[in-house]
Amino acid sequence: MGRMSTAEQRPWPVEVQLVVTQRSHGGTSSRTGAAALAMEGDMSVRNLILGALAAGGGAVIARRKLDPRRIHGRHDDPTVDRWHVVFVNRPQDAVAPDGQLPAPLAELGDAVEVQVRRAAGDRGTALAARVRTPVPAGLSEATTRILGTDPRQAVRTALRHSKQLVETGEVLSPDKPGSTRLTLTNLPLELATRHARAEGRL
């Protein structure tokens, strides 16, 4: 089972909060993917999706060069994972009864650090996790993300699954069996949907 620190035992570190709001991954250069579209003039919207997902690593690199608000210090190290957070519309004791984490997160064991705390404004519970060990950066990030082996992808999926389990009792399955055919033009989209819950800005 993954180790857990509650808000009481371990206050939410201020520098981590800054990292969460200012250094988000997910592959686009500002709050919306739309901005990336304007920047990367040769990209169609379809490519934007690919750009945002499959080749997200590249876009992240570009962002690091561009973003003047970068924070310096330990957490600026791209191999140190930031916190990934979902808010769950249930009280803390429903999210982690007796300190027992939801199964998808528990399954990641010691690979991740997890926090369960009250969400601001009593909007249920913030469930946060980050990878303990160094995470891929630069070119290796781009490759691992496409291959689906970037450890952050497992964290995102586990967080999304945990939230769904706690809120609705099950994880919603994508529609199967499919009716679509693989074509050259939908290849990027195919890649994007393959990592559907593992990617994004979470």
């Binding site: 686009t28 919306t32 999706i49 519309n89 529609d175 009716s179 994004g200």
Partner: protein, 398 residues
Amino acid sequence: MKALCWEGVNEVSVEQVPDPQILNKQDAILKVTLSSVCGSDLHQISGYIPAMKAGDVLGHEFMGEIVEVGPEVRKHKPGDRVVVCSFIACGRCWYCEHELYSCCDNSNTNPAITESMWGQAPGGIFGYSHAMGGFKGSHSEYVRIPFVDHTAFTVPDGVDDQSAVFASDSAPTGWMGAHLGGVQPGDVVAVWGCGAVGQMAARSAMILGAERVIAMDRFDYRLDMMQRHVGAEVVNYEKVDVDAVLRERSDGRGPDVCIEAVGLECHSPGPQYRLEQLKQQTRVLQTDRGHTLREAILACRKGGTVFVLGVFAGLVDHVPMGALMNKGLTLRGAQQHGERYIPMLLDRIASGELKTAHLATHPMPLEQGPRGYDLFKNKKENCLRAVFRPDGLSPNGG
């Protein structure tokens, strides 16, 4: 089973696809009785929402009979005659609890795409591209309904199919525009677009007490319908100066609430239309055409509200932010929060206060789907909405 599929830009056809299955304990399988086209399908069909794969089943405005339920379905049972909200909602996340159902956190199984494009992922929709969950649409004999207890609503006995089906999408969308646009008794409301969404928005504004509702389009048959079935004043925007007409009819003030019910493929009079189209086709200079949005912002009275019901996907050029800011406007938009409104709308349909059956100008068997989309997209034969019957029977069960 047979289903109407997207095959590529401007290409749809009826194909054989695998039957749906119960995949979650809260799922149901619905036998579709009626499934309507919607303006949103056109944006997918034309490739402006570029997250479709060849073979995707279209359709999201529909009703039918439940034939199978998962073990944790409580409210519904086989045999129920239901209308299904186009947006899938879990009913229990923070957004659902706050009646922002189309923002449901748990119904989009592909959150990465929209999260990357828009910052956050909206909920899932039937037949509305992989960006919105990749769920199969309703233009088929059967469809899987996730979270059925929250997404489907029993149709009262007094309401016929042809009226009930529009409680799925166009009626709640129109209602939301008037309701969340804050229409008050005595207001002057302007509506861009006389499609089903515009008509429902205009009617809703009247029910909420608007004193004057002025609706715009360029197709006379749609303006006629708006006048005849809804009772709104109509304006052919190709023949008049829209801003001047709205100003005059709102006593020089500008409409209190402006409802945009056209979306990213809007047409504009004059030569700039070709330029807008060209820019949009590059997908770089702009992804969405913004004429109606601009017109609404410029026409709206000081301190008024512009509500965007028409679908936009990405970037709009030349949004008059100066007008928005200096006039103190509220700009709001949403995919429809149908779960909030459907039972109430079904009651209003039952009482005769809200008329919807006239929207189904072209009922036809599902096999004729490609023809239905041709009529609807190109506004031929006075088509407002083509409505498909998967059982192959001719209109109205005959």
